[in-house]
Symmetry: C2
Subunit: 258 residues, 2 copies
């Protein structure tokens, strides 16, 4: 391949050199495939394997990638860690345990802006993952510029390899987008105006009055407030207000024309 992988392709979210994922001695093709799938979910496309147990290509990996062919087809295999890391400026090593080494420790959430900043000034970065059962060895920690540890349930830290890759990728992708944490899905309609609501309430109160709902006059103001609270809390759309008014008319035996 002469073209550098991920050069501003849309699948990387427009990043020319997104982080490289390096798996050391991965054992199961299932995990490699699921890691590749998780990578593409998060705009990562450059996967490198160091001494994969079952060789490469690997049928189980392809099957479990579920269509992330761009990652599988470009996966590179290395005999030595040094060769897998050679073109990278910074390497971050994932480990569940605290080590004796004196290293910066990032959470995935802290690592994401760090990597974006380093990549932004033109450097190339990679994240290294150890074998399924044992994780990275001390020699791998020594190869890295910093360590990454996912803060999870200390009573059960055994994290699946593909799951660990996903969490790094997830935070990477989140750090590059701007999606509100909460929004109201509106389909083709739009939120009711205060005027829509006021007309609904007057309509409803008039019909409740006419049907004898307000039997104790002094309780009426409080009851009206309660009813208004119910519908205000529902964040109604313009269309839903019309639907509710149609329901009122129908229940009162009439025919609603908006």
């Amino acid at each position: 391949m002469s073209e550098p992988i991920g050069s501003a392709k849309p699948e990387t979210g427009g990043i020319a050199n997104p982080p490289v994922i390096i798996l050391i001695e991965p054992q199961l093709g299932d995990n490699i495939g699921k890691a590749a799938r998780a990578m593409l979910n998060c705009g990562l496309v450059d996967l490198r394997l160091v001494r994969p147990r079952d060789g490469w290509p690997n049928e189980r990996a392809t099957a479990n990638a579920s269509g992330a062919d761009i990652v599988i087809d470009n996966t590179k295999v290395f005999e030595r860690e040094e060769d897998a890391l050679a073109d990278l400026n910074r390497v971050y090593v994932t480990t569940a345990r605290t080590r004796d080494a004196i290293k910066p420790v990032f959470t995935p959430k802290g690592l994401a802006p760090e990597m974006r900043s380093v990549i932004g000034r033109g450097e190339k970065v990679g994240v290294m993952f150890g074998p399924e059962r044992t994780g990275v060895r001390n020699e791998h920690v020594a190869m890295g510029d910093a360590v990454v540890t996912v803060p999870l349930n200390p009573g059960f830290t055994s994290l699946n390899l593909a799951q660990a890759v996903l969490l790094i990728g997830y935070e990477w992708w989140q750090a590059g987008i701007d999606v509100p944490d909460y929004q109201l899905m509106m389909a083709d309609t739009f939120p009711a105006t205060k005027d829509d609501m006021e007309r609904l309430f007057v309509h409803l109160e008039n019909e409740l009055d006419a049907s004898g709902f307000f039997r104790v006059p002094e309780k009426r103001p409080g009851m009206e407030r309660n009813i208004r609270n119910i519908f205000n809390r529902a964040n109604l759309t313009h269309q839903e207000v019309q639907t509710l008014r149609g329901m009122i008319v129908a229940m009162r035996g009439g025919k609603y024309k908006p």
Copy 2:
């Protein structure tokens, strides 16, 4: 079981009623097991299955749970969605697609504080996931109070079921802890003081002077600044300063006594 699951047990991070995970018509035991493992990684212990394709218990699920037995052993199976949701006050439905329904839409990051707030006032919540291939149907969206969508690569949104469970759980756990995004792992030592550093620099500069390193006197101040920058940038520990001073002494033919 008479005791409610997750009543302030340590595996839930001290939360009496962490979110329930509901899988609708899950097909693969592998995915159920990996979802259970991801749940326990994140302090979630209450798994419910609605019409699992291969019945229950499921050997592949147990194998893939990798020791998350507390989740697998307590998993409950239901024929009807209504029964699986009966004791919950709020249900959030995960879906990759925007629907016609008018619903609040959370990201996993936005959902986590929402669930902690709702649980904090004593309500019980659940998060629903659809079958692997199709995701939830419109009828399931209608059963929920809100929708959850993970913002990921729009060019490849196919997220594995267990991976989706992990992302909900991951954000749930992160919202309950306070781990710095970046810290320096120190082992048994501690950061060098400015006095440690000053003694190192004076020592080094004296020895460089004695060895004829500063050949051009007017360049000396700038070179000294550059050298100080190198070592200041390294965030040295007290022990590392001693090691460096030992190296200086050795290279100058002496024997270092701290």
